[in-house]
Assembly symmetry: C2
Homo-oligomer: 313 residues x 2
């Protein structure tokens, strides 16, 4: 089955013509233009589709899957006020695309699409129960249960970042205190990292943290950790340990023991994963301990697009 | 459909002949004899069944449902080392009962049965998504999703008591720190209550807390709170607030907004529920706030038995 998968992110739109997500036959990329009018974003979306439909293999295309960063009414294919697309209100994404191209359109949340992509084609192959986490500005998650996305009552399930790990902890963007996102979301992570790097005169990042803290990125920390910097390693390990607290809570509540971790700082590798595994394994109920698998995601930035392409499977 | 529902608790076995859980046609109660050999407990179970089958209405009985306090292999009907039945190892409950009575037998966890009972006949009627909580020594839970029990990969889902709310909090029975159970489980609740009551010379419970703290029960605190004692009310309200932290985490992760709270201290009423509602509502994501319902359970001690009786629906 030939399908198109589209991942609408805050900065770019990624789209591909695929064999139902299995193989990428052609791909394209356009700017989201998130701070323009919504119609401008749709001009870009339609341009992606037009480009992909021009390929020879697209003549039998069965449908289009779209991943969007927001809460979604799945049956209606309507997206509600996605925070990273500020000019969008309630947008009937499915009907706006299907009307134009006369094709079936399925829409789901971007984190759900990324988890579905990993389920079909990445680190989740052969696993019918897992939670796919995407670490970035927030902590997105898709819950895969019996091989399918678990949506909850209204389609809003998977707000993993807003599991409380410390009830009088730092204020989170959402208004609650001590959400796991208020420790491991990129902005909060950098807030904790900068003073630690300023305090460590031996760190290769000491100078940039002191002189230009705004310019420091999670990738700088990951790179410094990979080159052996102890402070950078400690920051990533601590981040992993915080994430492990919420992983243990979710494992105990849902009887899910596989967690697939992707997104920007997940590329930081060993110290982060060591922190997650040590913390989650020591905190989870004994019955889950041996079954616990914390795996790196395999599809990188393509996960959401490939998952969207497989929404109609 | 006529069924038998059996709830095997740590101290007593409750059983009833029912119209698939809807109406109780006859009921009986026997001691669990949890500290004798396992066979003694089965003598009591079989005696309950024999007594109920002797009723006229039992001639068309379609099956037996059993709720057991432990982890269960649902397909095999095998229970694994239930902590409150210390002489039980791996016990094939379903086959031991079906062989003797030549009837289909369904087995599930007691907290799942209690949630299912509330779903069909209690506070969960008409609600297809909720979490049923039973406050006691631990915090049991059954997750109802699309009208059915959510079991997770191996049937162990629902360990709500082991959601972490404060990652460097008090040591929990399970080995983790800061589980919600380590704040609201009866033993931990009493550990926090006694010093507060000793410190408050004006409390009607001051004397018993000082002279015989071991004799004090959650019911004493609930009664004192109902009579207006500020310290007792504060203890219950604080307990509710702690529970509300975990409720907000579960609501955010699963998109579930109805929580039905039963069990011993749930009878404490207003201050407990006020604490839960205030805390959960202020912590949950905005998208869930208006939909949040914290309801008292309606079936009391019969919930597990009635849910077991409806397992084959």
């Amino acid at each position: 089955m030939i399908t198109i998968g589209i991942d609408i992110g805050g900065s770019s739109i990624k789209a591909a013509l695929t064999d139902a997500g299995r193989r990428i036959l052609a791909r394209t990329l356009r700017p989201t233009m998130a701070y323009s009018e919504m119609e401008q974003t749709f001009v870009q979306i339609h341009a992606c589709i037009e480009e992909l439909l021009a390929h020879e293999e697209a003549k039998d295309v069965a449908g289009i899957g779209v991943g969007v960063p927001g809460a979604i009414d799945l049956e209606a294919g309507v997206v509600f006020y996605p925070p990273n697309l500020p000019s969008w209100g309630e947008v009937p994404v499915a009907s706006m695309i299907s009307r134009r191209w006369d094709l079936p359109v399925h829409v789901d949340n971007d984190a759900n699409c990324a988890a579905l992509g990993e389920a079909h084609f990445g680190a989740g192959r052969g696993r019918s129960h897992f939670i796919g986490l995407t670490l970035g500005t927030g902590v997105g998650a898709g819950i895969i249960s019996d091989g399918r996305i678990y949506h909850g009552q209204r389609g809003f399930a998977g707000e993993f970042g807003h599991i409380t790990i410390h009830d009088d902890g730092p204020l989170c963007n959402c208004g609650n205190h001590g959400c796991v996102e208020a420790y491991v979301g990129i902005r909060y992570l950098m807030q904790r990292a900068v003073p630690a790097l300023i305090a460590d005169e031996g760190s290769p990042l000491h100078r940039s943290a002191t002189e230009n803290p705004e310019g420091l990125t999670p990738k700088d920390i990951a790179d410094a950790a990979a080159r052996g910097d102890g402070t950078a390693q400690r920051i990533l390990r601590d981040t992993g340990e915080r994430l492990g607290v919420a992983i243990a809570s979710a494992a105990n509540l849902l009887d899910v023991t596989t967690f697939i971790v992707g997104g920007g700082i997940a590329a930081a590798g060993d110290p982060l994963f060591e922190g997650i595994r040590q913390s989650a394994s020591s905190r989870v109920l004994k019955v889950h301990r041996d079954a616990l698998h914390i795996l790196p995601a395999e599809l990188g930035n393509d996960a959401g697009m490939l998952g969207a392409a497989s929404l109609m499977l």
